[in-house]
Symmetry: C2
Subunit: 332 residues, 2 copies
DNA sequence: CCTCGCCACTAGCACGTGCAAGCGGTCGTG
DNA sequence: CACGACCGCTTGCACGTGCTAGTGGCGAGG
């Protein structure tokens, strides 16, 4: 019955056990087109393979067919945590249906551990943000040509992942709540400067299109009293609503306001971004932007499949629905 | 100079380019012992391999040698985020020095995406918490025998990763602050039940060895008012200090206490676990336990190498230093 | 001059798979 | 009955690597 606790079961074992040739087994298991296999034989093969617990040897497959059927997702090392987990899960599913698999790697600063693309040689490498020229060169050197987002700015839209909706919703939410003069809490972390700039830009655009005055941007990070100073500045500027880069920034702003004796949202309303689970645990609970990470995951997977198979995109675009989660910090 | 933007460079290419046999190239590149290769030839091979940009084909290596030189680290899907990133990074380094590579997978609830161990066939699978019997069986079915922590309780110490220090420190910290009657805030999330039990056990042990009364254990999770009920119970039991399973539980307890009009830490002191970055942002800021994730990473890597090579453990044990981070929620 | 041993290297197999080409048997058709 | 078409299967090669067994050359010793 069970394997004799030793060798791995190969396609040859299945063939031998049935008195067939290994090729026949291969045809059945791969569903090779252009080969005629009788229904009876097909069933016997499938049954025997299942009985013996046959698992194709991935390395051998990769060697023979020249492709690993692997997609590497490079996750930035900024704290994105659990939300990304959903995204990864969904992307895995979508890829799996197409016979591909997803491997993730959190991307550490340069010069540390060897990147996984060197040894898994994935067919596609996907990142949340564009890769540096050095990274792209390194991948090219390993024979990796399918890179998302691509380094060429022309064919890919500026926001391929549809992540610019959040800031717009933040601004609109505060506007709906009656706030006119808005502040923006930015983080100074160099690792996310690109993302901060992107979100700030989208927020500015949204404010402008609503006819609001320019955003009062202040840095809010781990530096002592950076948040306190920012809050002071906003008060002087008659700012009553703050758009935070993310939930971390929002929490810092709220903390500073509370410690300064202000009421949230009475004196200052704050909305975060990413809907980190902790936002619901704060007192007051923090309004935020929930991203449809599942949808984003599906979209990433579709992009990767498109690149891997050179076939046209399956889904019509980003169906990732971004939404406001209104909580106490904006007066829910 | 550079590759002609097409085929991959194989060892045979290097050999042909030098007029040598492929075997010689192989010996040099692998540093095979028991083979005499002249210094001159060795240098020529190395130089030519570098010049052509030769990279061994991982799949072919894995096929031939029967082992992938891969270690799979299964990361639970609870929010451990960045701290684990440090751990992974350090583990990667340690493994790399031994010629192994680390691949991580965040472990989603059962029934979702296919586990990576099926297709990467890693030599060792490492987890933060023990695997379920089903998971172990699944791994076995894929030919994976090296599993950490092992399912057998006998040879492996009950706390191979040295993670039981935290609860002890939590209890001692509250004791030092003058608290006698302690509560324990447990989460009911089935995914972490093992870890909860482990931490609770360690906390109980610590309380007993200090001569404290038994811990008053209450569930604290996302259910409406679970935390509020727990706080009520603790007050009735004259509990003044709460050991939380993690920072999430701690935040829930604190939130419930504040909303109930209690002072933290005046009426109830609370300490979390894991030192999630958000703990510092709460009002009041949350005391917690900081884990030396870098040290933990090195230790995990050492364990994995031991399992992979069947050689004795390199490091003398866990050098992961766990420490209390005292903040406002316990009266810092 | 022959032999033996050693050096430095080569021929070739095996790993497990995917798939092109081939091959015997049967059936339909003239 | 001859012949081709077709079905259902098999033989065999290739992928790139690690490594065992072997091989030719050459110097030393007798």
């Amino acid at each position: 019955m069970g394997a004799g606790a030793g060798k791995r079961v190969t396609a040859a074992d299945v063939a031998r056990s049935l008195g067939l040739s290994r090729a026949t087994v291969g045809f059945v298991l791969n569903g090779t087109t252009g080969q005629r296999i009788s229904e009876a034989t097909r069933d016997r093969v499938l049954a025997e393979a299942a009985r013996l617990g046959y698992r194709p040897h991935t390395a051998a497959q990769a060697l023979r067919r020249g492709s690993s059927r692997l997609v590497l997702l490079v996750i930035p090392d900024w704290p994105v945590d659990f939300s990304v987990s959903k995204c990864v899960e969904e992307a895995s599913h979508t890829l799996e249906e197409a016979g591909y698999s997803l491997v993730t790697q959190t991307h550490h600063p340069v010069g540390t551990a060897r990147p996984l693309w060197e040894l898994l040689d994935p067919e596609v490498v996907v990142g949340f943000a564009p890769f540096t020229p050095q990274e792209v060169a390194a991948m090219r050197g390993c024979g990796i040509t399918k890179i998302i987002p691509g380094p060429e700015p022309s064919p890919s839209p500026p926001d391929p992942l549809g992540l610019d909706d959040g800031p717009r919703l933040q601004v609109e939410h505060l506007h709906t709540r009656g706030h006119q003069r808005l502040g923006f809490a930015a983080t100074t972390d160099a690792r996310v400067s690109g993302l901060v700039a992107s979100r700030l830009g989208a927020a500015r655009e949204a404010a402008a299109s609503l006819g609001l005055p320019p955003l009062v941007v202040r840095p809010v990070d781990g530096a002592p009293d950076a948040a306190g100073q920012a809050v002071q500045d906003w008060l002087h500027a008659n700012v009553t609503g703050v758009v935070a880069y993310n939930d971390d920034s929002a929490a810092r702003v709220i903390g500073a306001a509370l410690r300064g004796g202000l009421g949230v949202p009475a004196d200052l309303a704050v909305i975060g971004h990413d809907d980190n689970p902790y936002t619901a645990l704060f007192v007051p609970s923090i309004s935020s932007i929930r991203i449809d990470y599942a949808g984003l995951g599906r979209h990433l997977a579709a992009l990767a499949l498109q690149a891997a198979t050179d076939r046209p995109l399956l889904d019509g675009g980003v169906d990732a629905a971004t939404a406001v989660v209104a909580r106490e910090s904006t007066g829910a």
